[in-house]
Symmetry: D2
Subunit: 343 residues, 4 copies
Amino acid sequence: MRVGVLTGGGDCPGLNAVMRGVVRKAENTYGDEIIGFRDGWKGVINNETVELSIASMRGTLTRGGTVLGTSRVHPWMQEDGVEKIAATVADQNLDAMIVIGGEGTLSCARRLHDEGVINVIGIPKTIDNDISATDMTFGFMTAVEVAADAVDRLHSTAESHDRVMVLEVMGRHVGHIAMWAGLAGGATVTLVPEEPFDIAEVAESIKRRHEKGRFASIVVVAEGALPKPGTLDVVEPEVDIYGHQRLGGIGATVAAEIEKLTGFETRVTVLGYVQRGGTPSAFDRVLCTWYGVAAIDAVHQGDFGRMVSFQNAGMTTVSLDDAVGGLKTIDPQLWDVAKTFFG
Amino acid sequence: MRVGVLTGGGDCPGLNAVMRGVVRKAENTYGDEIIGFRDGWKGVINNETVELSIASMRGTLTRGGTVLGTSRVHPWMQEDGVEKIAATVADQNLDAMIVIGGEGTLSCARRLHDEGVINVIGIPKTIDNDISATDMTFGFMTAVEVAADAVDRLHSTAESHDRVMVLEVMGRHVGHIAMWAGLAGGATVTLVPEEPFDIAEVAESIKRRHEKGRFASIVVVAEGALPKPGTLDVVEPEVDIYGHQRLGGIGATVAAEIEKLTGFETRVTVLGYVQRGGTPSAFDRVLCTWYGVAAIDAVHQGDFGRMVSFQNAGMTTVSLDDAVGGLKTIDPQLWDVAKTFFG
Amino acid sequence: MRVGVLTGGGDCPGLNAVMRGVVRKAENTYGDEIIGFRDGWKGVINNETVELSIASMRGTLTRGGTVLGTSRVHPWMQEDGVEKIAATVADQNLDAMIVIGGEGTLSCARRLHDEGVINVIGIPKTIDNDISATDMTFGFMTAVEVAADAVDRLHSTAESHDRVMVLEVMGRHVGHIAMWAGLAGGATVTLVPEEPFDIAEVAESIKRRHEKGRFASIVVVAEGALPKPGTLDVVEPEVDIYGHQRLGGIGATVAAEIEKLTGFETRVTVLGYVQRGGTPSAFDRVLCTWYGVAAIDAVHQGDFGRMVSFQNAGMTTVSLDDAVGGLKTIDPQLWDVAKTFFG
Amino acid sequence: MRVGVLTGGGDCPGLNAVMRGVVRKAENTYGDEIIGFRDGWKGVINNETVELSIASMRGTLTRGGTVLGTSRVHPWMQEDGVEKIAATVADQNLDAMIVIGGEGTLSCARRLHDEGVINVIGIPKTIDNDISATDMTFGFMTAVEVAADAVDRLHSTAESHDRVMVLEVMGRHVGHIAMWAGLAGGATVTLVPEEPFDIAEVAESIKRRHEKGRFASIVVVAEGALPKPGTLDVVEPEVDIYGHQRLGGIGATVAAEIEKLTGFETRVTVLGYVQRGGTPSAFDRVLCTWYGVAAIDAVHQGDFGRMVSFQNAGMTTVSLDDAVGGLKTIDPQLWDVAKTFFG
């Protein structure tokens, strides 16, 4: 078989490890040829390929990012995008396409599949772990390790200066990274999108804690955390008045308010892109490899129009319709555990 | 309530984090007093306690080992052991005991519970992840990260010298650590107790690989891996003829045989105790905290004679009878993935 | 002897390790008593002490921050500050004081020494490594490792998206951290305070690089880097119009300009406080211990009014006058090496 | 110019970073062509080359090992070795050769230079940091970080079990790694080749420490540490009676004796090859790059027959005669500091 592979959307640790899994099983077990496409759907539209073989993937298991490149271009953004994809499929004589991406990329995959343009197998990619159709996405746990390490480092400086340190982590719609990093790092409070916060309560819990002794506080904030309606004006991030990338929308707001309400010196750190990059953890390398192997297996089982999903500690598939539907919010049982540690 | 806590058997990363979880929820939510016992059952027999409070546990989330100490002493090893335990229970006015340990420690817990000596809740502790009644034990994934890091380091030296490097990791009865570390590190072959190996086949796969180019090989061996019956004499580890601790029983044997059969320079490294110690990973810190909180919750639900178990990404309890029964061997689906990468 | 110890100014990795060195040598070799003062000069003014003994320092070798706390309070900020210090010296019966701090803290130490208030030995503390009287300050190399790790992580995400990533690191007056992290991480350009930059040249070098292929760029910027006079308006950091801590003064400016001039998507990350905190590297732990031991040795040699200094791979002392005088800028030979790698 | 490069002897972290430094400066500043030779002198004898260019070195800054491979083959081991080297020099039209290696490899370089076969510049390579003609060799500090991390991990398991843990680290002739790792990790005793030990004294100091409380001990032993003459029989490592690689010669002996003399449970870990491999630390990456750039600069200064040396925090050159002469033993001042912490 000839099978295409692409990576779309934002990058996350382990993309290369997934592709290495695809290629290894494909070449060794099935004798397939794998064709990589450059920069997501853009490469399929333009028929731009990248070699993807056991040889070319050597040394990439531990390498962050994606050797294919990625983009947010999609078929319906461009004139004749779908026709061009069909032409590429024909030109490359593709039997199927493995599409590694998030909601946007997989929605395109589903539509192309439904329209009969190409047989697709999806692999979920979101560093936020927010796809309900799978128990765990790859890259997420590496981001948690990086964020928890930052919390560890902030602890000592907070303690030395009797300060409050606010750490803003990724999580636009859900608080998985924030909750895990906050728990793992021993944060005083963690703020997540799932549960709007009352800044006065946050300040109170920090004050209570500081009254008990000299113990500094760490507040972990997901970038998408929101105050209860009407309680606090949050400045939209993006670009500031000088035209510069604005860092720490919610994080900076929370820090400024805490300082105002408690009188404690408060500082914000925005972890940003370091959560996305670098070597995947051992856990993620195994998970990635497993996803990749399961995807090429699904191709050979003719399981098209479906996404590989990690459920009950094993790989299965779900329909792409289900896959891109639901947002997975934080686990209520674990969130209860997290709240036990709030100040 | 007054609740005792002990840690028994070999140590593993995250024991302190578990106890911090117990103490935090106990003090803050239930107003309990927690009494730590020194060195496993020995401390209960001798009524030797250690302070275990939110204050005393400060800073231990990231600390390896156990602040209580541990031992392999058990109640039936010592005269009047059970009577002394009953006396301690009465003296300390204990309502329940949270027992953190492996098969041996928990078997004692079950028997003491069955004999009505004390209400117990168990928490599974085995770095090998080999208890079938729980999906994942704490400390295991940290050991995997340490072992995979060692594989990464051995890769470059293997490549520079065109060598075979054998890495012996923990896993007396099961190959979870070996399989995960081998997959995460890109090992050429991984040997596990679950599947006796044929050294001639191992040598052949390494030779095939080397014939294709200059690619060095890493062989990960669980300490309990065994050759197929009659194919290879393995020297028992323990102590050598000089009375010294003998390192690398199976690892050294495998390395010597590979060198003999392939002619390639082969070296063995025995990772040993570094897998047991040190800061738990962020993943393990969350898992530990969750185990600890769930255990004190179980005490308050009167769920005695049971062990906290992590199943389907949530905490539940199982009877201690089931808990200490089955050995959990490696997952066949993941083992199949692992074999895809064998040379 | 009875010897006081204080830590002043901003924290950095290894302060505890320094004090552990002082205490160990003091108790074991000299039979001294060491008295810790809380929060820098503030604790001496208020006669607030913290136990500082071999026992109390157990476990602190690897711990970031300072168990004493720190502040920027100084004797001349407060009414009768110097008199109160003299009173504390008398009350505590102090023979000498070991002062661990940067320029501000050590200037006070010198003045108190010159005025005969107390015998002092200084230990230089600046994470920026910018004191000319010593070859290397502790904590600096740990900050370099943290910053270089961030560069590593940014590389993969930059490559995947064909982006420019700007990383702002510490270094208000000097570029040591930026230069080392940039070299260690393989940055395309590094901007330091010592050499004002021309943003047009920076943009050109990035464009040249991108024209050669698909290679993303990393730009490391010291927080104190400055454009050539008249070439670029830089927004002062501190607080933004919303009253929030403003992140990425120069970093955000540089990123916005690069995007404007090159047309390449450019993102900024401000590493901030994670550079200051956490476990010191092995190198720093040795350096810290050496500083601490040398300081108490200097006390016993009556070497007062002087600062311990690391020179030619050994410890010596210099007068406090020299110590706080000169700013150590980046090494011209190493800067030349760094420039070899500019795009 | 056309300049050859080879790496000889055992590998160590940062070899690729050194060559990347050579290549970058050579191509960008001087317009040279660099020719890599495979597997040390063997590749020069056989005229086997490997591409060494900015393009081929991309991504190798963080990669352990050497892309050239290495061996211990030398010109006088093989018939007509020197003649073949001369032929390769002529065939490749080489103006000079940069030789990266330890005492053996550099001795050959010197002799070939003295005999007029080729113009050589040496770069010192020894993970043990034992060359007296340079202040610091690359790779050494990475090995120290790895060894100190192992000590950290052993601490917690030692404490939990009240055990003595012996860690054998590299250092055949000198104790630099042992002394640094012991100091950085807080070892109770460190044994180095420079100072023969009395096992009875070691046991006494451990007993004294344990009598003071529940404090476990870590003993760091350099592989070349030796007992005082006549005090202890040490088994030679190499191969055991079963023909297997024997691990832990001196480490296993020391552990067995400590257990015998103190009665405390004692375990040995042999760190082995993990010290040699993997990503160099940020410190080492800078040092490596600097060595590489200085070497090609020396070629263009015609500084032949000399070795690049790091002295007084800068690069210079020394004659190859001096370079391979002296063994650099541990610093007496720092060894004194280390002994302050002995139990």
